[in-house]
């Protein structure tokens, strides 16, 4: 029995199929999300500069970010992308339609994304820049509002120039984060029978990528017939609407199923390391005992040189030190396995994927930390979103308090332990995939497992030490 035969297609349950194949989905979810998003931008730009009293900071970086990392990505893959307001506006303009595919030419130059910057390197660069400025973005409402507005306008511009969702695939930093960790999620959209897709041809066929009267062609430039990973599937369910054969499945599957797919790329590998390193560094900066580091990261007045030092340290850690450590253990793995014909670079790219489960676990543990610490800010900003002294729902005076701080380690330790276990298991799968000799493959796991364990110990020390 292969892995896919154990999957459970939830579309067999008629109410789920009815909802997801309805033309109002995902618009009906996008609408309230868009309302909150506009409020986040407005409160960010015009509200109080005190982050904890401003709706934009609390809802963007506590409510949304917490929900994204703790629930949406680990369990829903790219479900967020289906309702993302940053992309929605540009997509409606480009399609010249919101619900029903029209017969008019899309409002775009329709260029293909330039081949030279295809792949994830540009997105990785944007991620690094965002990582460097994250403390500034997270604490200053105006910066948050301006950044979200700028991203929306950039997305709109790219929609007007390039085909479909080029912004989401190649630029959006959140898309990069979500795409990486969607590999671990227990949910996937796939063709039920790819052979049926293979032969469903002709002028009006391949509706999943062309579109039809029933729905739009895949905005993500994916094709369910050959799709075997979540990385670029935005889960908008347009393919469910357009497929005349009923050949689309939304399936529950084991955690981390995509990571076993032996199709690995250097840009994705680098992104996995960037994200794991940033989770580790953020934990050190935000949860660690080094207040001076927080001050450097926050770009306080007169601290530009210190911030530059911090930016340099962060960038070098993400782009040089972490990849260097993974390359070193890959070289050691090659030496231990005595697999002379396997290039160390290939092992490096493959082993970097082991950073995905542990990285996601680190992000979840880190996010729980600030979620539990700051969730009490939600009620006051609901009543006074701009921080202008309003009390719309009578909750403006609700006092800040951290929730159950004593329970948190009991949640974080198991999460990190599971992340480590999944990463080590994946390392063993990868070594078997790359190195033919079983004994050599087992030996090659030792260095990478050691590095992953060391990272976990550091994280545990930062959380509970």
């Amino acid at each position: 029995m292969d892995g896919r035969s154990r999957n459970v297609n939830v579309l067999r349950w008629q109410p789920v199929r009815t909802v997801l194949s309805h033309r109002l989905f995902p618009f009906i979810v996008v609408l309230p999300v868009l309302f909150v998003f506009v409020l986040v931008i407005l409160t960010g730009l015009f509200g109080t500069p005190v982050g904890s009293a401003n709706f934009s900071i609390v809802f963007a970086w506590i409510v949304w970010w917490g929900a994204l990392i703790v629930i949406l990505v680990p369990f829903g893959a790219r479900a967020w992308c289906a309702v993302c307001p940053v992309a929605a506006v540009g997509e409606w303009v480009q399609r010249r339609a919101i619900l029903i595919p029209g017969r008019r030419r899309p409002l775009t130059l329709g260029l293909e994304w330039p081949e030279a910057i295809r792949g994830l390197w540009l997105q990785n660069s944007v991620l690094v820049v965002m990582a460097v400025f994250s403390a500034v973005i997270l604490t200053r409402p105006f910066v948050t509002g301006a950044l979200l507005l700028a991203l929306t306008l950039l997305a709109l511009c790219l929609y007007l120039v390039f085909k479909r969702r080029a912004f989401c695939r190649y630029v959006c930093p959140v898309g990069g984060f979500v795409g990486q960790y969607s590999a671990a999620a227990p949910l996937e959209v796939r063709a039920v029978d790819p052979e049926l897709c293979l032969v469903h041809c002709g002028p009006a066929a391949k509706e999943c990528i062309k579109g039809s009267a029933a729905g739009f062609g895949c905005p993500w430039m994916e094709y369910p017939g050959t799709m075997d990973r979540n990385a670029s599937c935005g889960m908008c369910m347009e393919c469910l609407k357009t497929c005349p054969k009923g050949n689309i499945a939304l399936s529950l599957r084991p955690f981390g199923a995509d990571l076993a797919v032996p199709r690995r790329h250097a840009d994705e590998a680098y992104r996995a390391l960037i994200l794991l390193t940033s989770a580790l560094l953020y934990t050190a900066i935000m949860a660690g005992p080094w207040g001076w580091m927080r001050s450097w990261a926050n770009l306080g007045s007169g601290q530009l040189p210190a911030f530059m030092g911090y930016a340099g340290l962060l960038t070098v850690s993400m782009l040089v030190l972490a990849p260097g450590a993974f390359f070193a253990v890959s070289w050691l793995a090659k030496a231990l396995s005595r697999a002379r014909d396997v290039p160390a670079r290939r092992l490096f790219v493959a082993f970097a994927y082991t950073a995905v489960p542990l990285g996601l676990a680190a992000w979840v543990a880190f996010s729980l930390d600030f979620l539990f610490a700051n969730a009490s800010d939600i009620l006051p900003v609901l009543s006074d979103p701009f921080g202008w002294g309003w009390n719309l729902f009578g909750t403006a005076g609700y006092a800040w308090r951290p929730y159950v701080p004593q329970v948190l380690p009991y949640i974080q330790v198991p999460i990190l332990t599971v992340g480590l276990a999944m990463s080590v298991r994946l390392a063993h799968q990868i070594s078997s995939e790359c190195i033919g000799d079983a004994a050599g493959a087992r030996r090659s796991v030792i260095p990478i497992a050691g590095l992953l364990a060391l990272i976990t110990v550091i994280l545990l020390w930062l959380f509970i030490g």
């Binding site: 008019r104 030419r105 899309p106 293909e112 293979l198 041809c201 002709g202 066929a205 062309k210 094709y223």
Partner: protein
């Protein structure tokens, strides 16, 4: 619309080419043979599913009526295909085959034929 039942032997011919220009030339010659673009699929693959670092191969697939299969095979050979075979043979050799009607241009997958709005409105109202 040509829809073939999957249980029958698939009349899909697949060819491998060394470079993309040869694929473009083959597509043009297939169109001259009255094979529509939406029955042709193109993708770039490394040589074998796990072939890290191996040479890139450009694959082309054609779904054509059985009576044309011989002509299509000969045409692809004349276009300097590295190899030509059935869907099953070429999938075994390269791990993947392009689906007819789909253009896989590196990681983007787009229709090889027309988009829906072009089908509905061939003139394309701007």
């Amino acid at each position: 619309m040509l829809v073939v039942q999957p249980r029958r032997k698939l009349p899909i011919v697949v060819a491998a080419f060394a470079d993309h220009e040869q694929v473009d030339a083959a597509v043009a010659r297939l169109e001259a043979l009255k094979v529509r673009r939406d029955l042709i699929g193109v993708c770039t693959s490394v040589n074998g599913r796990n072939g890290h670092g191996r040479e890139r191969v450009h694959l082309l697939s054609v779904l054509a009526p059985s009576r044309l299969n011989g002509d299509v095979e000969r045409l692809l050979v004349r276009c300097n295909a590295l190899s030509v075979g059935s869907a099953a043979e070429m999938r075994a050799a390269f791990g993947v085959i392009p689906h007819p009607g789909v253009l896989e241009d590196r990681d983007m997958k787009l229709p090889m034929g027309s988009d829906y709005w072009e089908l509905s409105n061939p003139g394309g109202e701007v």
